[in-house]
């Protein structure tokens, strides 16, 4: 049995490990970034923390509960609910990630919002995420989330490239951040192509591998940057 067949045969078990791995990476990132936020009260750090919190919740819900449904520990009728929650958290995570790069241009540094999860600006993201999830549900498709994320990561790639071009000599991780955004864009394109081609496994496996690389890159960046004394 070749490696590819082995992966396909054990895909549900692998998905659990995949969800747990990304959930664990997100948990470490959230804890480390939250420590920095509590010290600095820096809004950009706050939004980055929120992004990984939402990514972690999304992956745990999708791959752990998805597997529980597959092994019939949970009724299959809840699959659509899990898919809706997964998409919602994934879209919100993307919005928070993009907003962590943009917030300086859109709000004052003296932000008095008590919560970064429930305030007027973030409500717009919640509404946009709801609309995207609703459209996908009504049309029984995934293309609205794919299109939204391809647009989002194209913008994020552009911003992170500008950041890299400005500070590449001083700040080494800007290069990896830009690379992570390009890989995230590629992962979403692979996801969309996979869906277009009746969930083509080649594109799907590649998007999973890209996701692991992206989250490991961020983990490396966070650990490296917070280790400095």
């Amino acid at each position: 049995m070749d490696l590819y067949s082995l992966l396909i045969e054990n895909r549900e078990i692998i998905k659990i490990f995949y969800g747990l791995l990304i959930g664990l990476i997100c948990l470490i990132i959230v804890l480390k970034v939250d420590k920095l936020f509590r010290l600095s009260l820096h809004q950009g750090i706050r939004y980055l923390r929120n992004a990984f919190f939402f990514y972690g919740v999304a992956f745990i819900i999708r791959y752990i509960f998805g597997a529980l449904i597959f092994y019939e520990y949970i009724d299959g009728k809840y699959l659509s609910v899990i898919t809706i929650i997964f998409k919602y958290f994934l879209i919100m995570a993307g919005f928070f990630l993009l907003y962590s790069l943009l917030w300086k241009k859109l709000e004052s540094s003296k932000n008095d919002d008590y919560s970064s999860l429930f305030n007027l600006k973030i409500i717009i993201f919640y509404i946009m995420a709801l609309v995207i999830v609703f459209l996908d549900y009504v049309w029984q498709t995934h293309y609205f989330i794919f299109i939204s994320q391809v647009i989002l990561f194209t913008i994020a790639s552009g911003i992170s490239y500008l950041n890299y071009a400005r500070g590449k000599s001083e700040h080494k991780f800007l290069k990896f951040y830009f690379a992570a955004m390009i890989l995230a864009l590629a992962a979403w394109i692979f996801n969309a192509l996979s869906a277009l081609l009746d969930w083509n496994r080649y594109f799907l496996i590649n998007s999973y591998l890209l996701n692991i690389i992206i989250f490991l890159l961020f983990l490396y960046g966070v650990v490296n940057a917070t280790r400095l004394k």
Binding site: S40, L48, W103, S109, I159, G167, H171, T226, K229
Partner: protein
């Protein structure tokens, strides 16, 4: 140099002045911080709000500033925060 780094640097500079003096009057802090009175007021209000700095009254009833535990921690970790913000383009 980004606007955000400048802001973090201003905060660090104000906190360092307070730390070096242990307790300092607003007028002396304004002079040492090299800010306009309006900007100074904004930063001090922010630092008070974030509980990096506390305001007390001396024996003559005059206002004086001192650093809180949180303010001291911020100064210790400043390099880490600055490095993180710049490496992630925040």
């Amino acid at each position: 140099m980004s606007k955000k780094r400048e802001r973090l640097e201003v905060i660090r500079d104000i906190l360092k002045v307070i730390q070096n003096n242990r307790r300092i009057k607003p007028t002396r802090l304004l002079y040492a911080s090299n800010l306009s009175p309006q900007m100074f007021k904004e930063y001090v209000n922010e630092l008070l709000g974030k509980k990096f700095v506390q305001s007390e009254e001396d024996g003559n009833g005059k206002k004086i500033f001192s650093l809180t535990k949180k303010g001291n921690e911020f100064l210790q970790e400043y390099k880490v925060i600055e490095n993180f913000v710049e490496n992630f383009g925040l």
